[in-house]
Symmetry: C2
Subunit: 467 residues, 2 copies
Amino acid sequence: MAAPLTRQSRNDSGIHLAVPILKQRFGDRCETGQAIREQHGHTTTWIPTEAPDAVVFAESADDVTAVVDICREHGVPIVPFGVGTSLEGHVNAPLGGVCIDFSRMNRVLHVHDEDLTCTVEPGITRKALNAYLRDRGLFFPIDPGADATIGGMCATRASGTNAVRYGTMRDNVISLEAVMANGEKITTASRAKKSSAGYDITRLLIGSEGTLGIITAVTLKLSGIPEAISAAVCPFPSVEAACQATIATIQSGIPVARIELLDALQMKAVNAHSKLDLAETPTLFLEFHGSAAGVAADSEAVAAIAEDLGGGPFHFSTRAEERTRLWQARHDAYFAAIGLRAGCTVFSTDVCVPISRLAECVEETRADLEVLDLIGPIVGHVGDGNFHVLILMDPEDMAERDRASEFLERLAKRAIDMDGTCTGEHGVGQGKMKYLRRELGGTVDVMRAIKTALDPDGLLNPGKIFQ
Amino acid sequence: MAAPLTRQSRNDSGIHLAVPILKQRFGDRCETGQAIREQHGHTTTWIPTEAPDAVVFAESADDVTAVVDICREHGVPIVPFGVGTSLEGHVNAPLGGVCIDFSRMNRVLHVHDEDLTCTVEPGITRKALNAYLRDRGLFFPIDPGADATIGGMCATRASGTNAVRYGTMRDNVISLEAVMANGEKITTASRAKKSSAGYDITRLLIGSEGTLGIITAVTLKLSGIPEAISAAVCPFPSVEAACQATIATIQSGIPVARIELLDALQMKAVNAHSKLDLAETPTLFLEFHGSAAGVAADSEAVAAIAEDLGGGPFHFSTRAEERTRLWQARHDAYFAAIGLRAGCTVFSTDVCVPISRLAECVEETRADLEVLDLIGPIVGHVGDGNFHVLILMDPEDMAERDRASEFLERLAKRAIDMDGTCTGEHGVGQGKMKYLRRELGGTVDVMRAIKTALDPDGLLNPGKIFQ
């Protein structure tokens, strides 16, 4: 066993040998043009692009095995790529190597209606999957905002707005097929809904960010499209009141499907962007899934909770058009935020804390943005204690960039010190590596031991998760 | 690094050195009497008892660390023990060694009502925990039948009757504290409801059966005690019809809390045992949790589904006494089954298949019991595709024992061949080791690599999971 590859020990001779072999095997499906390489090392963040040396467009698990075998032979890193919407530099290639692009592995392989499961290739996006499923009355509920691929969502343990009701990727994957660093293709579990048959390798790969194995198929748990959906919106006098309403809702067992907080700055941004006239105070956006009677009862119960906490007026509707209107501010949040500052660069960060600490964490974060003179509207999946800050920066202002770095560090530490996590759903990638030990202590050594055992040469997505 | 311990390489000199050191450290809390040792190597199965050499009654994580350090020093196996209700020989000590008894680590450390979490020591049983939580309006929903410890339920990835609604231990543990084989104590996650911060070491330890680390504290997700509970019972003309009703119920999104099948033989046993006069045909027992209006609506919806499939009459009630009466047959199932054959030895096995294959699997299993001339009533958590066969054997009849072994093998293979698992909730232990590779192929090598990385000397609960 060779020593694992590091930035210092990078040896370009391997890639020079591997690329011609890949070209021979894959022809036009192995690209080395600069534009394509840079596109595949580009992340939607402030982290600089680090391009791979080649991009292979895989069409089957056999293709993936071939890439892994060739790269292992020549000591070349491998970076899996879905659609490039990850937020912490996950697809960067700091040591170069070969990117495997999964966009052509985007088929639905099976749908088992009776079992509420489907098996897909990893390159299908969640919207494409849901379009495919719609006529069957089924859907895949995890919604991270971006139209990410299912494989990428597995790799980062994605979640999003629906997680408060439907859980995260952790809870909605039955089984994975993956090619491991040694080239062996494994299937991590049967299609049974639950199992106690040994270690949970499915959950180990979910959130492993391509560092332990390369996902080549995913069996998902599906949900029935609800009979009725209602949407609601309700302003509150403070973040604290909105969070208390959220806690009371969850404690009451009301099965809210989405419960999103927009802070006052984000509401101001939305009013300006979408020409609305909403109260510029912290506001909850809610959605309920169930029977017609159920969603009406749930909405009424939350309205009463909100009123007790000084919130309101509580507007709600089950009609599709009116629902869209009520949620417009939430749907427009990202572009509205960008509109707060012309020509800015935007990056999104996320933390997650126990819900009892959420108001305190959001308010301290808001105060810190002011201290540091940064513009950062806040949007939260508050039912889970998870929130995002969108930092709007002048890309030319180096002093501001330093303050933003300081902010990110303080935010991560604040969340960790409140018994929370430096990332609720974006993942570690390159951006959050430095916080992992503060959050998890010796558990990082356990992770590292597993990484070394399963990928002794350190070729699978190197430079991620571990510093 | 020494070669891992095996049955062949067992060396008694280590234990002879370790026991006096343990006695010195723990005094009366290190027991070596035969009765206590045998009780700790006894499982509620047909698998013969294999006693440890000593039993240490731990009172703190520091005690556990001390045992691990002493045992590692002397190459002595360690077997964690909750309350001994596991079913596949999990607490047997085939290589001898030291059993750590957790019965004195049974405190509730924290309850965070607003977050719906609590942190407990691993030796608390689920009933003791729920008694503690009741006044706060909270409960921990996982119910495997036996009054198992929370630590043991984590270790075996337990589930049971409520899993169709609330999930399994996989879904209801936020974080674990564990002492690893190297003596380091880790905390696997923060108390945030969700996280993408690196590998899911929490889920890796859940279901690892004490072979990767020894759990010393557990942070659990709690649920609110529902406002209303209704119970229902409904006979069906066939297993097929009962399973179709189950599938239709799940597909409709009705949030049934429990949905249990008793087969005709089990119903016959219950009638005899509890002096009832129920139809001796496959029967579903259901429970609904929610608001008063919600559970009424849910019950009516299932009653309509049942009627469409030839089931009925559908009896249901929300009153506590009447609910108990309706569910009496289910509650009495175990002792009723034993009553079918005087003086028998009983063992319970479990498999789990995709729900679309459940009727076929149950019916083939029933036919196989007849072919093999075995008595085995069937009870299933059918919402999950999971069922149990209780085998009632004459302990003196070696030929019958051979037929039972043959039956178990055929059952596991049948489930695996239907894309299911050899164990839905009992775990692998010693009993299911031989099926793991058939079910999971090369994934077993991944498990083994992790085991070797985290416990290179093979001291943590050896002789389990891996053949």
